[in-house]
Symmetry: C5
Subunit: 321 residues, 5 copies
């Protein structure tokens, strides 16, 4: 579905143009075309391939989707794939955007995501100075918009992890903790999947040998790289904490179980002694003189109770009760 197809000159919008005219406008000197597609059909993509003279492998990738984030050069054209991440009720939804950046055009193809880039276009049209810088800057603006939208997800992840951490030493919450930690690990893996490959390749857009079209915006791409590095650092820290938390949770369960076992041992011993003593005086031997004593029964009760109290005191001192 075509969203926008606009020609610009000198940072100024010229006209909304039809797709079929793209190759004509591209031929005009100083003219810059910015096209946005959404959930594009194969036909639309093949038309774009023809108009912009794109490489078939790149178009195939844009059509198939489910790519890992990457930046590839096909001749003069830089082909960027990034994942669009959205939170829907605690789940992370993964969409995708493919961006073709040529000398005087930018084509973005968004798949399976509600995130719109209209804001980026509006800001670029408002600030004529920026748009003048051409395809390199526009591609930076799009990438920056995508990466900026990762921050709320990593912050939500950190907040949820802190919520679990605040519960981790609360008795009886082990099962809830472990379920939550597992879900957080899963979410962090999705984030990592989106960020790590991108981090590797964005590093090649500044510093060393840089594609011609990105040459003038190196400092901007370094900024995107820096944002990704920050997100990546946060994800790594989160994953590390989750790993430790799972381990610590296991330790705590074992500690709690150990405490319960001790307490069980203690009470079982107290009652076992009482039962054994009562059993002895419940034997039916004919000659058991104490049974005949006037105070036999109270004495027996005293012995049983004091035995129990002695054990209680001993176990208490050992910290078992």
């Amino acid at each position: 579905m075509l969203i926008n197809c606009v020609a610009y000159q000198d940072g100024q919008k010229l006209a909304d143009i039809s797709v079929a005219d793209i190759s004509d406008w591209l031929a005009k000197p100083g003219c810059f075309i910015w096209v946005a597609l959404r959930d594009a059909s194969l036909d639309e993509l093949l038309q774009m391939q023809e108009e912009f003279d794109l490489h078939p492998l790149a178009v195939e990738d844009a059509a198939h989707g489910h790519q890992r984030p990457k930046i590839e050069e096909y001749g003069d054209v830089v082909f960027v794939v990034m994942q669009l991440l959205e939170m829907h009720q605690g789940d992370v939804h993964v969409g995708e955007v493919a961006i073709f950046v040529g000398q005087n055009f930018v084509l973005s193809v968004r798949n399976g995501s509600q995130q719109s880039f209209l804001g980026v276009r509006e800001r670029c049209e408002r600030e004529r100075e920026l748009l003048k810088q051409g395809a390199g800057f526009v591609s930076y603006a799009l990438m920056d918009a995508v990466v900026d939208r990762y921050f709320p997800l990593i912050e939500a992840l950190e907040a949820d992890l802190e919520a679990v951490e605040s519960q981790i030493f609360v008795r009886g919450s082990a099962r809830w903790n472990i379920e939550r930690l597992y879900a957080l690990k899963h979410r962090s893996a999705i984030l990592r999947h989106a960020v790590v490959p991108l981090l590797e390749v964005v590093g090649k857009l500044h510093g060393g040998r840089v594609p011609a079209v990105c040459m003038t915006c190196q400092e901007y791409f370094r900024d995107v790289h820096d944002h990704l590095a920050r997100i990546n650092g946060a994800i790594d820290a989160t994953r590390d904490t989750i790993g430790t938390a799972i381990q610590v949770n296991l330790s705590l369960v074992t500690i709690e179980e150990s405490e319960v076992t001790k307490r069980l041992a203690a009470w079982a011993a107290i009652f076992a002694v009482s039962t054994a003593l009562a059993g002895i005086w419940g034997m039916n031997f004919e000659v058991m003189p104490e049974l005949k004593w006037a105070y036999g029964y109270p004495i027996a009760l005293c012995i049983i109770v004091s035995m129990a109290c002695f054990l209680y005191w001993r176990f208490r001192r050992r910290g078992w009760l």
Copy 2:
């Protein structure tokens, strides 16, 4: 066993030729030979060595099989070994294909696998433009076919892992989970074994110093590399998840055991108290006045039952029952 031995010119099939004539056809300018063997005997390989003037070490590797995936240059000839993976009833079967790529020939030797490359040949013959690109493109088409067949395996792995994950928090499924996770770990190891070494070496077919025969198809080999990177990323994510799942499973078993222990402690205590009290009134002392009371028995039963109820209520409040 010889499957095909065909000479092409200008992307057009010339003739099915006999093995003995290969060296003659190779000498003709603009001629391109594509030979496919399957479970080749040593004799067949030695004949090929002679006809194509292959390096003895490479032929030895192709004959012995059980190589790790690799790409080696012997003079002008590029020697590729890849693993062919197939699922047979939950087990992964590992075959192997060795490909010799020369300036104007491609020789593929398939071992221990049902996967045929006839489809690749057909597509190449149909699209004359592609075949015109010669040995480099044909070797790409073969590698792409092998790598594409890895995707269903990794998808099956991910689906099976998700099936285990959906069971992981179900009580009583721990043993089944751990057996499945162990099997999945094993399967992911086989996949990894096939992918990782290949990923390393395919990276050398684009970008830097590239063998002459692959020079014109660099973008295609980058595409293969990208597919492998995607598979590798998926395998890594799977392995990571399996590791966490094993750990979480252990935690859950410990948590469940801890709950059972608590419950056991609680019921044991309730009955131990009852037994101890009954034992006391079962003693044979002569002077036990309550035994003579008219309502002694109901009172005793009340004491026992209320004692049990009190304990039940306490344990319930503590979350042990």
Copy 3:
């Protein structure tokens, strides 16, 4: 908030100047400006941007804060971000300092931290020889001051870890240990977050291609790098020890539980035997000759006690009691 804004020449303080005059002073040959801000407002930063002609991306980073430590070049200006760490009652408080280093100026912007750099300025003003070396040396002095303040934190971390280690083999301290270890892991993660990215980038200020302004002070920056490497080594060792300690703690809990289980098994067996024997002689069969014996009761007691003693001795020998 402006703290200082001073012009120097030849290592000698010339005057406290007003912010508006900065660009005039910068134009004078041999003149060096050193400005310090604290929790600067966006207006102040924009004014600085204008006076010093700073890059907007760098100023944005300084304004937003929460950057990861980094060193970036914007043309001739080197932009440094470091984290300021302080201990407040066992918690690590994270502030930030951004430093702009130009050919003849240094601008430091401190955010959310009580740590002042007045001491650095005083020392520099006192030792005229050092200040003469200009912006490179001043930036070194500031970085050195920041990094030196990391040492007390890592030492506190090591001391706290040693305190836990001295408790780790003490029975009954498992829960306290694990809580402490988790907190220490958290603290070490914060430290690591501050140190690792800095370590990577400071390495680029000596040895290879070095920004012009840092060229003359390479050996000083190598010294900072060396300090960071030392801190990093200490953090790694700490993290490694914490990991092992958590594992060992879990083992110890399991060992202790196992000992308690054995002891419980032993005592339970002793009393179960007594109760069973007493129960047998408490049966109401009419023909139980031993019940009529004169010494039946003492013999029964002897059997019960000797049985208990035998079991006690056996369990003792096995190390269960």
Copy 4:
């Protein structure tokens, strides 16, 4: 102990020569000397040092033994140390071979191992073409022979690991498994110790800057490198599997323990209820009307048995019995 000391020319054996004559033969053009020592004394080594003009540090290493595998250049001479691994009744025995490779000589010194290289010499003498290639090829042949002898060890390791894996889900085998896994881990560590350092250095004998004497045999050394990479991959896979197996084994033990605990809880509860009921009717209250009923006893037994059956049924449904 001297094993062989032979002079060759043009791939043809000239004569068995005495050690003292080595330096004379070396001086003859086109002459190639191949000496083999076994468990050499220091005197023998010093004589070799003199005859071949070897570097004292290399000779020292050959004399001391217990080196890590390495390849070092001393001027024109390449010095290779490899470990010789043999299985003796399940234990891995580690020997060592040091090889000095010069422009026209090879000296091998074998220590503490029964593995002979006579087969290598025989094959080389038989195939004159190969021997003609001189010191480089001979050193390849020796290294290849050493590395080939690693394969049976890694295969035995894999077979033993599979034997353990087939037992891992069998109940009651946990202790045996863990002992075996620990032993296998130990064995894999010894193998890894022999392979990993060698893998690193053999990589330098092909591709980049290669010692002059190995220049003509690069493809052969790449083959050795490939074998080592395969062994290394197999070792890594083995180690990974062992690690997972240890973890899984622990999980299984915990699961089994948990099942036993549940079963124990269930049976204990069934008998505790019976005992408690029997205890109640064993009390000595005078007024217990049910004791006088004609069918009191059968009713009591029925209650006890049906109670036990009810519990049995409930526990069965829960999967505890």
Copy 5:
């Protein structure tokens, strides 16, 4: 404290000279000064700084101590810091030596260690040929002496680890094992701390760009590097084994606990059945015909005993007893 201050020429000792004359002797051509300090005061170091014209940062490091091992170049002077490790009653004591190596001098500063380098000086003075090679060789000799003294520590570590390993499958030794393993881990961390940074930097003294003063002794420094690599490999293997041993120990504890739990379950069941049966015949119902039978008692005993035997046999068969 000054230990030695000697001037040499042509490998021959000239004279013990006073510290104040050092700069004069340095000026003489062909003269070489070798100074050794021990626990030097700041004054001594400052005097050395003046005489040898050392860099203040290096002198500061030598004075402060507690550096990580490193090798730094300050102009022509190479500054080496290494840790001196000694065993005192099972504890590892860490000292430090700083070595300044100039074109014609070596200055060693030893701190907090009993290890003397007199042996090195004696050997050098004895073997005039070696001493002639100047500062490079002397620095090698000192470094070699330090590194050689690491071997006994790593051997002691390995021996202690083997002692623990031989105990690891002995029942009841779990607690002792875990304490020992933790201590060994600690010791290995100290060793690693000394070796790893050194390994990194010594690699730069041979092969690539090498400081001028070390140029002629590259093969010697490669030997030191090789020793360090061997020690590092041994430490890594040790750490790996310790990690596995801790894990295996935990498994064994769990296995033993599981066995005890089973045995407990078995004996508890046997006695619970006996007690329940005895309790039933101990009930006070009036109509319990078996109580009146002449052989009621022996029959009851037989039932109880045969019940116990049956259970014993069943549990035995299951491997619980």
